[in-house]
Symmetry: C2
Subunit: 220 residues, 2 copies
């Protein structure tokens, strides 16, 4: 399947020409981030939290304390709405009305279940850590039994999805192009700054290659 | 009221020492952003979208097409969960387990109603535009009657809220401080790049002061 089926929940109603159901486009948006917002329903009311994630195939992985309310609720298999949004710029039109943002946003619908075996949990935690900072997993002390036991890992089946992508210049009303008003884009970037050592770092410890690579890459 | 009451929906269960119910702290997080995620329940399932917003007093304002599904559903007064998250850095611990993020995240619970009068709608749109880019409202053509008529503005009453803030170094297990593993923070910044003029910009138009100020400020 290269496209998600259009159904009531993932159908893009507004700005449909900026919408896509293409799996590759949606997964690229997911893979470009490491922090999502997850929402679910509890006692008929909406709840939402930001959390780290990773994708592999048609699955998403999140983790948390076994005591976390989000984990406890979502592992029951209640419907989840999962969103990743990247801001790429302000779109400054000649009219207030046509102001917009350039962005890439993926919305996923699915259900979660708990990852049970220590081996699978460890692998999901590796994916989450590597998605957070590529190359970090092999630099650090990996989870011990006690840590695995107090961590829940959830696997979310991606059942339905859509994305919206806006790029480029503002689109103004034809007659407004004659106005003496500057219009264009104010690009937004998320960058890393120079890594800052822990104040309690032992002397003589070499820097993190993973952190330095991420910093260097974000300077380009 | 300087603190939101602790109730079931806004109670911080995990990492309570990083949580706050302080109104000033929560509103500072809201005021430092312009893009939120809003979730609501429709047909017993969770929905979520990213959207622009502004805060004034104990109210939040969002807007959209009168035909937008989110607007249509939330203006009924169904419960809303509203979240703003700022990423400040990766927290790189010696153990995979203690990896974290430095962040500021505010979660608001409330209900919406439609702003009816053109005057109030216009003022809310001014607030949203100014929160998006300070100084922009007075640079542009403001909404005309047709635009006001096809735009819905919602006012959300902030009924309950909490925030979580993490700053500083990783916190590792005592015995891990002896490991030969680099630990610290990889700071994250969201910056503006140089404004890019619309390809269809009339010749001889001066740049946007608002955009230049935002760009200059983000270089500091």
């Amino acid at each position: 399947m290269s496209e998600f089926a259009k159904e009531s929940r993932n159908k893009i109603v507004r700005g449909a020409k900026r919408g896509t159901y293409d799996k590759k486009a949606i997964y690229e948006i997911l893979d470009a981030g490491f922090l999502c917002h997850i929402s679910f329903v509890m006692n008929d009311a909406p709840f939402m939290i930001p959390t780290a994630y990773a994708r592999q195939g048609d699955k998403l992985y999140i983790h948390g304390s076994v005591k976390s309310r989000t984990i406890q609720e979502t592992k029951k298999g209640t419907p989840i709405c999962f969103c990743v949004t990247h801001l790429d710029g302000l779109v400054l039109a000649r009219s207030a009305f046509h102001h917009s943002v350039n962005y890439r946003s993926a919305i996923i619908y699915g259900t979660a279940h708990e990852v049970v075996s220590d081996e699978d949990k460890n692998e999901a935690l590796r994916l989450i850590t590597e998605n957070f900072l590529e190359g970090r997993w092999n630099e650090v002390r990996q989870p011990n039994q006690k840590e695995l036991d107090i961590t829940s890992v959830l696997e979310i089946d991606i059942e339905s999805a859509s994305a919206k992508i806006r790029t480029g210049d503002p689109v103004d009303d034809q007659e407004d192009y004659d106005l003496d008003i500057w219009a264009g884009q104010l690009p937004i970037k998320r960058i890393y700054d120079k890594p800052v050592a822990d104040q309690l770092l032992k002397e003589g410890i070499e820097g993190s290659k993973a952190a330095h690579l991420a910093w260097e890459k974000s300077k380009q």
